[in-house]
């Protein structure tokens, strides 16, 4: 039975330090299992947020050897044998305790985005949408709200523009609504002004860390930027589109 040493950040808003713990490992273990062993054997008060342990709920986001990851999907055998694994909380959000950060800001952003304004149902009481028209929307709806993309976004992490940019997670929420076949809301003015499409400078860091492999930048943010540009910087094309019926230009 092999052993593994973890360097875990312990502390709260007032500061803290890394502490080392060594635990026994089993085949197939992930970093979150290691943290649970530490809780059971060495530090029962170690704060770590988790739920499903299968990559489906997006609770156990943390920075592992400096990279934002889900603790439940980071297998120990992807690290060198004997390598110490460093685990610390997400950097872009205020620390509560140990590995737990205050991510409530993200939940506030959702309120800034207007809800789906749904077309009426067809006469038989059903909605109709073709699969090819919802494939892209479904890609965005795979998002598990782990907020890893928010954590690596330079606009938030380095430039702290939290009041001006909702971040990649909510860019895909916006795009998902804008591309939803049943939606009738005009979202372009808000996308530009309140939600801050212009802030993203397309470094694709968000896409790289997405555990659901959503093409955040290429499929959501860039198209939204283009829609804003078409509207505000090419008003004639927008007018023609509006008059001759292209959907929500």
């Amino acid at each position: 039975m092999a052993q593994r040493t973890f360097k875990v950040w312990r502390g709260d808003a007032n500061g803290g330090e890394f502490k080392e713990y060594t635990v026994e490992t089993q085949p197939g273990m992930v970093v979150l299992d290691g943290l649970h062993r530490i809780q059971a054997e060495h530090a029962s008060d170690l704060a770590v947020r988790w739920n499903c342990k299968a990559g489906k709920c997006g609770s156990c986001s943390m920075e592992i050897n400096g990279k934002p990851k889900l603790g439940c999907m980071a297998r120990l055998n992807t690290f060198e044998p004997g390598e110490t694994i460093t685990v610390q909380p997400l950097k872009a959000f205020p620390i509560i305790r140990d590995l737990v950060t205050d991510v409530s800001w993200n939940f506030e952003q959702n309120k800034r985005i207007a809800p789906l304004k749904t077309k009426p149902r067809d006469a038989d009481g059903n909605h109709r949408m073709m699969q090819e028209d919802v494939d892209r929307v479904q890609e965005f709806r795979k998002c598990i709200e782990c907020f890893l993309c928010q954590d690596v976004c330079h606009v938030l992490r380095d430039h702290k523009k939290h009041d001006q940019f909702v971040g990649p997670r909510f860019m895909i929420r916006l795009a998902q609504l804008d591309m939803h076949p049943l939606d009738t809301e005009d979202r372009i003015p808000a996308a530009r002004k309140e939600l801050g499409t212009g802030w993203c400078n397309i470094t694709r860091c968000c896409t790289e860390v997405c555990p659901e492999h959503i093409q955040i930048t290429d499929n959501a943010i860039i198209p939204m930027k283009e829609r804003v540009v078409d509207r505000f910087y090419d008003p004639i094309a927008w007018f023609i589109g509006k008059v001759f019926g292209s959907k929500k230009s």
């Binding site: 709260d12 089993q26 085949p27 197939g28 273990m29 992930v30 299992d33 809780q39 059971a40 029962s44 008060d45 170690l46 704060a47 770590v48 947020r49 988790w50 739920n51 499903c52 342990k53 299968a54 990559g55 489906k56 709920c57 997006g58 609770s59 999907m73 297998r75 509560i96 305790r97 140990d98 737990v100 205050d102 991510v103 409530s104 939940f107 959702n110 309120k111 809800p115 789906l116 749904t118 149902r121 009481g125 059903n126 909605h127 109709r128 949408m129 073709m130 699969q131 919802v134 929307v137 479904q138 709806r141 795979k142 998002c143 598990i144 709200e145 929420r173 609504l177 939803h180 049943l182």
Partner: protein, 614 residues
């Protein structure tokens, strides 16, 4: 002594405890009815176990097969539940699920589509027709996110990472709850005119479970302590297909959708063994050869369903037997093979999260190799007794919906009936809790009750030394795994009860180190009481029910006993503080419902039976 008037106090008309599908749907309903609504989540919003549901939600929309209707769904549900379900709940569920699903679509849910643009429905165990509205194999995520996004703009007050410790009473009525914030460990007093419990199940009483840390039977225990009755607790569902390897993910769910889309179960000899386990009741509607099963899969409407799609109790027992008799897989499961049944691209498209899960967690490519699977504790059919129409418990002002409530599923739940349960009865609970709030004032909080609750909670932190709460929880799981498993005997259950009693003496010796701030050890210690009450109710029920029905299997009392089909088992807290239990005769069902439930399918579909039912 804590001064209760100095505690943080939050007042609502309706307080909903639990923020999975049922809780969210209840909160949307009550806030839509103009009630000031509070929604308490043990975790962050959107992380509740609903998110893990994969296959879909059952609703007789009739889009994929036009022969489907509520009567067939109702009949399937009753048959799956071995006729121990509450008839009226099964009726309401089958009738109202389609509209609840359409409503989700109005709110932005994006289900997979048929070729004509309607909601595509998937086949699932025990459902006669393809009936499950789904989004790939992540339907739970679609449901919870849709409700979450719909709720955001409806003025619901969401209290995240807040755990409720106890319900508060004024006389007979529930009038609020005491909880603590995970972040700070501070206590919070909720006052409400009515309370909805939507707190989920009790999977964490077992070692091998698909449930996460949250599912410690909180709702069951709190309702029990508040004087409510529990019902059908002996019926605990082991999902036939959980992961078995590697050890760290043992128990994690593998969706029934794999079998719905053609996956087959094989033992180590390569034999497709389910043909040997078809129960008499289902034989007329189940294929008896591989050839027929394959024709069914291709859409031949004259062919019968493959035996892999029998109800979960049947499949779970079959797997257990194969393993016990030495025909299991390398790590003690059986093989679930989709690789030889579908092209790789189809597997990735229809079952993306299964592909992902096995690839990342087990290093298995399910488009090339079979999965190793075995039973995992998944769901609790039993729970808090509720009125079938209003979802009110036996305590005034207290409502329950979703997994923590009992009645819809009887002795065994069909896959896909859980998500639809959440939205049908979540809505009803929200509706009637609102109505109750209209007719009742906020009650008066009993300071002594609050103080006693706080004393118990802080005791774990204040004592000098004591047992490790994680170890205590593991010990309980070992008892339940050993004594209250998938097959049970009276002797094992009796011993289990003794061990539980012995174990429970240690609960109040648990020691949580450090401060109350986001302290996992303290949280685990606080949940132990709830695990104990729920486990005891389950074990007592299992000991009393001397037959094998649905998910409850007694090797010392094989087969369904007609006599036992007349009874539900109830558990409550006696005046002496001890757990009481009795079997009670089931009321006679509505005549028409009874006819539909027991009809043969030809008579039902030809209109010979049930034609008058609206």
């Amino acid at each position: 002594m804590v001064d209760v008037s100095e505690l943080q106090t939050i007042e609502h008309d309706v307080l909903v405890i639990g923020a999975g599908g049922a809780g969210l749907r209840a909160a949307i309903e009550s806030s839509g009815r103009g009630k000031n609504t509070g929604l308490v989540c043990k975790s962050l919003l959107g992380k509740a176990h609903t998110v893990m549901a994969e296959g879909g939600m059952a609703a007789a929309l009739g889009f994929t097969d036009e022969r489907d209707n509520w009567k067939v769904h109702f009949r399937d549900t009753m048959r799956g539940g071995k006729f121990l379900n509450q008839w009226r709940m099964a009726e309401l569920h089958a009738k109202e699920a389609p509209e609840r699903v359409r409503e989700l679509e109005d709110w932005g849910a994006v289900f997979d589509r048929t070729k004509t643009g309607l909601i595509h429905q998937r086949n699932f165990g025990g459902h006669r027709y393809p009936r499950l509205a789904h989004t790939g194999d992540r339907t739970g995520l679609e449901l919870i996110r849709t409700l979450q996004d719909a709720g955001v703009h409806r003025g619901i007050n969401v209290h995240m990472e807040c755990t409720v410790l106890d319900l508060l009473k004024d006389g007979d009525r529930v009038i609020g709850a005491l909880g603590y914030w995970r972040e700070t460990g501070r206590f919070v007093l909720f006052k409400a005119k009515s309370v909805v419990l939507a707190s989920g199940g009790v999977g964490k009483a077992w070692r091998v479970t698909s449930n996460s840390w949250e599912y410690t039977g909180d709702g069951l225990a709190m309702a029990y302590l508040a004087g409510a009755e529990l019902m059908d607790c002996e019926f605990t569902q082991f999902h036939p297909t959980g992961m078995v390897w590697p050890p760290s993910v043992r128990g994690t769910l593998v969706t029934e959708g794999v079998r719905g889309d053609g996956g087959i179960l094989k033992n180590k000899e390569g034999k497709r063994f389910m043909f040997g386990y078809i129960p008499e009741r289902f034989a007329p509607e189940t294929a008896d050869s591989e050839e027929e099963a394959n024709r069914w899969l291709k859409g031949d409407k004259s062919a019968r369903r493959p035996p892999e799609l029998l109800t979960r109790d049947v499949v779970a027992r079959a797997i257990t037997r194969e393993v016990k008799e030495g025909r299991g897989s390398e790590h003690g499961g059986v093989y679930l093979d989709i690789a030889s049944r579908l092209p790789a691209e189809d597997i990735k498209r229809k079952l993306p999260s299964m592909y992902h899960q096995f690839k990342e967690l087990a290093e298995v490519d399910i488009t090339k190799e079979p999965m190793e699977v075995g039973p995992t504790l998944h769901y609790h059919m039993g729970g808090i007794k509720v009125d079938h129409d209003t979802q009110m418990t036996t305590v005034p002002g207290l409502f329950a919906a979703g997994e923590c409530a009992a009645g819809l599923h009887g002795a065994n739940r069909l896959g896909g009936n859980s998500l639809s349960d959440l939205i049908v009865f979540g809505k009803r609970a929200g509706e009637y809790a609102s109505e109750y709030a209209d007719n009742n004032d906020a009650g008066k909080v009993n300071d002594e009750q609050v103080q006693a609750c706080i004393r118990r909670a802080t005791g774990f932190l204040n004592r000098e030394s004591g047992e490790n709460p994680f170890v205590l929880q593991e010990n309980l799981q070992a008892i339940m795994n050993e004594h209250v498993g998938i097959v049970r005997t009276g002797e094992e259950l009796t011993q289990g009860l003794e061990k539980l009693a012995e174990w429970s003496k240690q609960i109040d010796t648990a020691k949580a180190h450090s401060t109350a701030q986001y302290n996992a050890g303290w949280h685990t210690a606080l949940d132990l009481r709830n695990l104990h009450i729920s486990s005891e109710a389950i074990t007592r029920g299992a000991l009393m029910r001397e037959e094998s029905r649905g998910a409850h299997t007694r090797v010392d009392f094989e087969g369904e006993r007609e006599e036992w089909g007349k009874y539900n088992i109830f558990v409550w807290r006696g005046n002496d503080g001890e757990m009481k239990i009795e079997k009670r005769e089931r009321p006679e069902p509505d005549k028409l419902l009874k006819e539909i439930g027991y009809s043969n399918i030809e008579d039902l579909e030809s209109g010979k039976v049930g034609a008058n039912a609206e």
